[in-house]
Amino acid sequence: MLTIERMREVAEAPAPRPVRRRKRNTRPAWEEPPTVAGEAVKGLTLGGVLLVMLVPLWIIVVTSLSTQGAVTRAGGLVIWPDGLTFEAYRVMLEDTTVRTALLVSLGITAAGTVVSMVVSVMCAYGLSRSRSFAHRFLLTLLIVTMFVNGGLIPTFLVVTGLGGYGQWWSLILPSAISVFNILILRSFYSSTSADLIEAARIDGAGDWRILWSIVLPTSRAVTAVMALFYGVGYWNSFFNVMLYMPTDSEKWPLQYVLYTYVNRGNGMPGSVNSGFGTAFSQTAPLSLQMAVVVLTLVPLLIVYPFVQKHFRTGVLTGAIKG
């Protein structure tokens, strides 16, 4: 099929050079001066976009930090801080459901990201040396899966057939690798300086050593971006939980807890013993729910700033290679 030819060709092309950043902050001489109306429209639009993104997050954070009194006075979500307290967070973290879910989420994310990255990095490097044995065949094997797949039910039957129902690995292995990510990594690895690799080889380094000591250190940015992509995927895993462990509530990750108790508004389980039961007197349920929302956001917000600056390198390759 033509598609495969083209994809292979695309995958084999060296990574494009990073796009040159526009350094100047000034208007070029030939450009006409901006009109006041034009600048106003531009500013308002971009300001509006920022508000639409940030205001919901602001409201949620403020509500999660509000006292019962503030929530009652506001009659719901609190927009302007009015009596702040960390009570909701204390109550939430005392609750076994949320604590377990947090640990499960962190565990799945950590384990999954490690598995995905190890497998993807090895595979990407293994396919990145030109003219190596069977690399075209293996590449085709990978790319075909981007176009054809068994779909939901056959995959479900295979995973349950292997005994994956209710097992941790069913949340990790079936979607552990993204061929797209591997192709991006691969194109970066292919463009690692051939001289450098040749020199290392002459010094007696094998492929494992070259990958570890030369290729990985020279492609930190793309590695970080891919780790973020995989990590976010695991942190957000929701549907796999619904498929493979819908009833084991002690194995639910945070997203599923969010879905069950905040999105669907079910009462927290075991509310007699859990913090949620006794907490209702001092803490507004709404603050508690918003605290859960914030909790799912926090790890993302911690990692995001470090990786965000590398998006251009990581994503552009992928985007340009289609």
């Binding site: 695309v10 084999e12 092309a13 040159r20 526009r22 070029p28 030939w30 450009e31 006409e32 971009l46 976009v49 920022l50 993104m53 919901p56 997050l57 979500l77 497998v119 595979c123 490097y125 293994g126 396919l127 030109s130 003219r131 044995f133 069977a134 293996l138 990978l142 899966t145 176009f147 054809v148 797949n149 068994g150 779909g151 939901l152 039910i153 056959p154 995959t155 039957l157 295979v158 057939g161 292995l173 979607s175 690798i177 591997i182 051939a194 492929d207 494992w208 942190w235 929701f238 997203q255 599923y256 969010l258 905040v262 918003m290 929302v293 956001l297 552009l316 985007a319 290679k321 289609g322």
Partner: protein, 318 residues
């Protein structure tokens, strides 16, 4: 888009390639490295491909694939006679179309707008904000929408306090297509601009200068330089979108299906989940899935033909 060169510079300058046994020996660690990925793909991508035969069976979980009775095309006959299935097809196409109209132009417009901002710091700040929701899960995004626009959310709270009445967007089937498009725009439009920003950065600035010298105003430059510069990416994105016309998002609909009802929110993917896994009618769901895959492949093929007709490359070349 089309600069991919298939040949490596060193090709041809090297001696003829060695015997395959020699190469296998030389590259054994490379092969070993690809092994885990290949095994994962074989187990979770290729084996399920053979699992598609369940679509032609009366699959019985106790008997398994090997011992289930064959049903020929019965599942498909049932499928094509099922009003719920056609409802899902119709919803999918409708939602796909609405999203194409309402979502597709947004990242392009946003990228153009952002590109016209001179200050690099302002640009970086806006970019980091608008990329962020892409990393939210659908559960989170929909929870946020619910808190803002739902019956007990911020918007209705404001409306009630000012005696304007209530407007529950989250459970209204009539505005569902608009709601899900708004969600997709909020979550993904920011991320979508990356590709267009890259294409914009690749446009030769000398062209602008020359055009300005010839008296072309900013709108003419936009029309005659910028947009043609984006044409390749836009066509590629359109091809991808058309090729994926039957995929309109899955978790997004799964989560909201109960709120607005299945007759509005069921799309092909949720149909195969609900009628396949949730009810245990695996073969039926697999048949729906297979139907979707086959049509999708045809769509990708067709969309590429369309791209070629416009003189663009699309996913692969002519």
């Amino acid at each position: 888009m089309t600069t991919a060169t298939p040949t490596r510079p060193d090709r041809g300058t090297r001696p003829a390639r060695p015997h395959w046994r020699v190469r296998l020996r030389r590259d054994r660690s490379l092969i070993l490295m690809t092994l885990p990925a290949v095994v994962l793909l074989l187990v979770f991508n290729y084996v399920p491909l053979f699992g598609l035969v369940t679509a032609f069976q009366e699959y019985d979980p106790l008997a398994g694939i090997w011992y289930s009775t064959w049903a020929g095309l019965d599942q498909f006959q049932r499928l094509f006679g099922d009003a719920n299935f056609w409802n899902a097809v119709q919803n999918t196409l409708y939602l796909s179309f609405v999203q194409l109209v309402l979502f597709f132009p947004v990242p392009i417009a946003l990228a153009l707008l952002l590109n016209s901002v001179l200050s690099q710091r302002v640009r970086n700040f806006i970019q980091s904000v608008v990329y962020l929701p892409h990393f939210f899960s659908w559960v989170l995004a929909i929870t946020i929408f619910q808190q803002m626009l739902g019956g007990a959310g911020a918007l209705n709270h404001f409306l009630r306090n000012n005696d304007i009445g209530t407007w529950d967007v989250m459970t209204n089937p009539d505005t569902f297509a608009l709601l899900v498009s708004a969600q997709v725009v909020w979550k993904e439009a920011g991320w979508g601009i990356i590709v267009f920003l890259a294409a914009l950065a690749a446009v030769n600035t000398d062209l602008y200068e020359a055009a300005a010298a010839d008296g072309a105003g900013r709108w003419r430059r936009l029309w005659h330089i910028t947009l043609p510069g984006l044409r390749g990416v836009i066509v590629l994105m359109l091809v991808l979108r058309l090729g994926n016309a039957l995929t309109v998002g899955f978790e997004q609909f799964l989560i909201q299906r109960n709120a607005v009802g299945y007759d509005t929110a069921d799309v092909l993917d949720t149909f195969s989940f609900y009628y396949g896994i949730a009810t245990g009618d695996y073969s039926y769901g697999a048949a729906a899935g297979l139907f979707k895959s086959v049509i999708s492949l045809l769509l990708i093929w067709g969309a590429n033909k369309l791209a070629h007709a416009f003189g663009e490359d699309g996913l692969y070349r002519r």
